[in-house]
């Protein structure tokens, strides 16, 4: 449970996903479950897809019709709680924030990791993005098996 061990429940996680037919295009998944004073996701979205009302303690609301999956919110979220997700056949393409060295290299295979920090399979590294605008938060694009759609959250180097 989130308040006990930092792991969101399955119900919490799927409540942040749109219906799978939306995910033929990339969409942002915002794992912000708690009313904290914060709003950069909403102010940084170039498409006005994320709204937080007047009170910055409100949870962000995302309009999946407006979201293009551009990924700007990934590195603007101070809680690193946003990723972008797209279903491609029997695979899922994720874009995740990553702030550890060494960075992966394209076409390497790393472990796919769930919210408890456990290995759940392989993640094929497709792209490593780190522009000046991202302010030292790298965005890694990976491909994982579709069965990991609601489990995958980050990557770990294979040792």
């Amino acid at each position: 449970m989130l308040v006990k061990d930092g792991v969101a429940t399955y119900e919490q996680v799927i409540s942040r996903f749109p219906k799978q037919e939306f995910l033929v295009k990339p969409k942002a998944i915002i794992e912000c479950y708690e009313n904290i004073p914060c709003n950069p996701c909403s102010t940084s979205c170039p498409f006005d897809a994320i709204t937080i009302l007047e009170d910055i303690n409100q949870l962000p609301k995302i309009d999946f019709d407006k979201c293009t999956g551009c990924g700007v919110c990934i590195y603007n979220c101070p809680g690193l709680a946003i990723m972008v997700c797209q279903i491609i056949g029997d695979k899922v393409r994720f874009k995740i924030p990553y702030e550890f060295l060494p960075y992966p290299n394209e076409s390497e295979t790393w472990h796919a990791i769930n919210r408890k920090g456990e290995i759940i399979g392989d993640a094929l590294i497709e792209k490593v993005m780190l522009t000046k605008r991202q302010d030292r938060t790298a965005v890694i694009q990976v491909l994982v098996d579709k069965e990991n759609l609601y489990d995958f959250v980050t990557i770990r180097r294979k040792i």
């Binding site: 006990k4 708690e34 004073p37 102010t43 709680a81």
Partner: protein, 375 residues
């Protein structure tokens, strides 16, 4: 005879306004004061201004008005840059420790091993906070550090505090420092939390949990073991009445322990000058009684930031702006946009303190005597 007493104090420096502390609150106060065309002296005991922001490598929360999504280290740089633009109005004394504060508003300082006296008309105290300690067997062993100390050591000086660490406390500082320890390549074995719930933002908790760090609630540190350094610690589970449950002891081999059990306002100077103080546990301990203008029980002595009660750095920034505006207004210098800014900053504070995480602060502020900026 100490070398300090060899130097005779020849004269008293006269200043309208002295700001003590160059962290987020003090820097923002200085900026507002200068914008109102009021001169001031900004005193900080460190060689570098910026307070504890200089070791915060993570992005800040809040709204962009308080530099949200900017890393603390970069906020420090921006605030210092802003203040240094007003070199004609702000007299910055770095590496200067205030050693005395007296009712006639005389500030005494040590600067370059010289004892100097400053006569002020108004003083803004923005001295920040210090880390709390936790009582357990052998809690004084070397290798047991405050979480802020660990951050300073690794993020300012580039030195790892150890290789294997247990974090005690799951408030925002405990969670953030755990993440930063891992970025520095340190193995965080576990985060333990005495309360049955994680104290900090859950996004921070999730960030460390997915890296494989276990967060154990209802668990505390029982003792540390070691001779010259900490080598092992023993933890124990707590029941719903916070009583230790025998038989649940667990040992960890560590070379450092990080204590993140909260901060307490650094109020020595406020006590010294004789401000009325009150114990408010929601604000971290002993705090000055203040009015809605951030003024203490002594006229023209203001306080802002963590020194007046523990909150986030974003609130310290806004409180600094407000204390600066109020102090120079009373000295007769109006900021050209005084009314507009006051409204704006009061609104920002209300907003920051509005959510469930602000509840403790709202209760604390009411006890402290402040009725504004909480809804």
């Amino acid at each position: 005879m100490s070398k300090y007493s060899l130097i005779k104090v020849k004269y008293m420096i006269k200043k309208d306004l002295v700001i003590i502390g160059g962290g987020p609150a003090g820097l923002c106060a200085a900026k507002m004061v200068a914008e109102a065309n009021q001169s001031c002296m900004l005193i900080d005991r460190n060689q570098i201004l910026g307070g504890q922001l200089i070791k915060q490598t993570h992005m800040f929360f809040g709204s962009e008005k308080q530099y949200a999504k900017t890393r603390g280290i970069d906020i420090a740089e921006k605030l210092v840059e802003d203040v240094k633009k007003y070199s004609d109005l702000i007299d910055i004394w770095e590496d200067t420790t205030v050693v005395g504060l007296y009712q006639d508003k005389v500030v005494t300082v040590l600067k370059n091993e010289r004892y100097v006296k400053i006569q002020a008309k108004a003083i803004i105290i923005a001295t920040g906070a210090s880390e709390k300690v936790l009582a357990f067997e052998n809690n004084d062993l070397p290798g047991i550090y405050g979480a802020g100390a660990v951050q300073t050591l690794m993020n300012v000086y580039g030195v790892k505090p150890g290789h294997k660490i247990v974090m005690v406390g799951s408030g925002n500082i405990g969670l953030i420092v755990s993440y930063q320890l891992m970025q520095a390549g340190v193995n965080v074995l576990s985060i333990i939390e005495a309360s049955p719930k994680i104290g900090g933002y859950k996004v921070h908790a999730s960030k460390v949990r997915r890296l494989g760090v276990n967060i154990e609630t209802s668990c505390t540190i029982k003792k540390a073991i070691g001779h010259e350094n900490v080598k092992k610690i023993e933890t124990i589970k707590l029941d719903e009445n916070w009583k230790e449950i025998e038989g649940t002891e667990k040992e960890y081999e560590v070379d450092a322990v990080c204590i993140a059990v909260g901060l307490t306002p650094l109020t020595n100077l406020l006590s010294m000058i004789g401000c009325q103080m009150k114990y408010v546990s929601e604000l971290g301990g002993l705090v000055p009684i203040i009015n809605e203008n951030h003024e203490t029980s002594i006229e023209n002595i203001y306080v802002c930031g963590d020194a007046s009660g523990i909150e986030e750095a974003s609130s310290a920034i806004v409180e600094g702006y407000l204390a600066g505006l109020h102090a120079c207004k009373k000295l007769g210098k109006f900021h050209p946009k005084n009314d507009e800014l006051m409204n704006e900053y009061h609104q920002q504070l209300t907003n920051l303190r509005n959510g469930p995480f602000g509840e403790k602060i709202r209760i604390g502020l009411k006890k402290q005597g402040v009725c504004k900026d909480v809804s």
